[in-house]
Symmetry: C4
Subunit: 192 residues, 4 copies
């Protein structure tokens, strides 16, 4: 039941994050299509963040269903994840407003990297609750997505200083590999 409430709270925070990002769109000066052009980079960075938060929402849901017993440790690891994600509207707005300048793009990646590491810590703590269930632990151990994402974010951060386009390729890459929900967990849950 308590994991349930943590899920509801996290859902609330994620729903607010995904929605208030739009408050960063300032009204254009003019009233024609031309006036919208400068919104372009903001909208593009909004799309990125919308997809990332959507991915987190979906996978977080799968992950929390694996919780056996709630404790303070899980709660604080979850809040740590939400903390980094709560900074996404700010980094999204800065990256968009700067037209994908190097440092704002790098910061965007750093926050996502820290969120990914927190997610990995949370997953580890939950997997540890299943230490007796070796099949489950083995299945989760093969979770290459969680393992590879931080490196991809780190590459995106570093390449931001070469070109935002190269950096963008890595951001898109992480989105693609996470796009589908984690079938393995779903499979493990059904297999019981």
């Amino acid at each position: 039941m308590k994991a349930n409430r943590m899920e509801a709270f996290s859902d609330g925070v994620l729903a607010i994050i995904i929605t208030i990002m739009v408050l960063e769109f300032k009204l254009p000066e003019g009233h024609d299509w031309h006036a919208l052009i400068e919104l372009g980079p903001k909208i593009l960075s909004y799309i990125f963040s919308f997809v990332y938060i959507g991915i987190y929402w979906n996978n977080h849901h799968h992950l929390l269903h694996m919780v056996r017993t709630m404790n303070g440790r899980l709660m604080w690891l979850n809040l740590l994840l939400l903390f980094w994600l709560s900074l996404v509207p700010f980094t999204t707005a800065w990256m968009g407003e700067s037209h994908f300048a190097a440092t704002p793009t790098a910061l965007y990646g750093i926050i996502l990297l820290l969120a990914a590491l927190s997610y990995w810590l949370l997953q580890r703590a939950i997997v540890n609750q299943h230490s007796g269930d070796s099949a489950f632990v083995a299945a989760m151990g093969k979770d290459w997505k969680v393992k590879i994402s931080p490196s991809l974010y780190l590459t995106a951060v570093l390449t931001a200083y070469v070109s935002p386009w190269i950096s963008g390729v890595f951001f898109v890459l992480v989105a693609i590999i996470w796009f589908l929900p984690d079938k393995r967990i779903e499979y493990a849950l059904r297999g019981r």
Copy 2:
């Protein structure tokens, strides 16, 4: 259970969208009724959007109750719908601030058109889960509202360049035909 959670998340996003739109009302300069006049178009566009989001909230609820099995496809189609709706506070503010100028009004219609198309895709994906239940599929196939709305929005978009009043007629028209919840689905659900 998972459809339940998608519903709760969507509800949260819709509740936030409907409420933060008011944050776009800037405080009037003066302190008399005259000072409120320039808020007129903003309030009018807010009323439009409030009604549309209310309609989506209601019909979305009916629709999700038809979900048989949740999957990634439904989740992403639902997020696609929420994405377009999340842009409504922005287009509402721009349309109001511009006193229903042609392009902001057209953009307002385009976003609603894209939301309507996403809703239609979501509905289709859910109906496909009932492919064996020919009575249900037949009943849903008669859903002229979902089919006619995109054309009405498109007409509103195009006529925005003739006159915002003509465009407004089509916006009101869509609101009217959707005003009541989808009796057919309710009927089908009860018929079980």
Copy 3:
């Protein structure tokens, strides 16, 4: 179940309304107590609105528990109520910023009056579902709070042009009579 969802949605909207009002507090110019003085009227009007929304949240909850069958009519009456309440952050900010000038104070009252009338319509529609239960209808018929509130708000609106202090007395009066939840409904519910 559907009344449940309407309740959850309304709760979400009320929670957002009550919280985003604080976003209207602009940061003071200085960093001493003196700089806070001009925030005074804003905080006072925030306290008023916080109490009113709290009262609505509480009574709305009691009211929705009386719903027998959900329908489009109830849903739209509920959305009408939420519409007026969604304007409260705006009227609160304007009233506070104007230091309780006549027109902003009157507008504040008008919006609350319209919310009160919507609440009364919603209550009536729900009571009508119990037309066979004459004891219940009789008990609800004695709901003097719902009947007297609109007149008190109207008086507050009109006296705003005499003095904000007199107007304020009537606003406080409504808050006081609604302060406690509706014992009669609670009593009727238990009596079953």
Copy 4:
């Protein structure tokens, strides 16, 4: 059931408070790391508030599970707590923007002090519902955290005029002693 709904409403308010604080981060002027420096104090005060709200969310959850019968008194004490917490985004922004100047830091502590006192009142009202269960009352009577927090906040308020660093030590101290959920309540609940 009603305590359940109060919990859901409180969760919603806390989720919004924790998320909208980020809206106070203004976009930096430049697009390099240097431009982020002035955000430092804002982010530091955000971290403080995030941790405090997280602590309240967690302990509030434990506390509400002890409620035996809901009544107007509990509801209003809960709203009083939420009222003070709803001011946290404002005091957080002012403290950060002032670079931890004396008065904003003191006000930050005062609001947290008032929240702590409200929490203590709420806890007392709930403990009183268990007056027959002397073991429980005795266990709760030993709740030194709730008793000591107001004095620590008060010290933080007063020392803010000596040095923000000393004040900060006391803020950190309260966070540390509350960091873990109240094991005693959890223990008492299990012991049943």
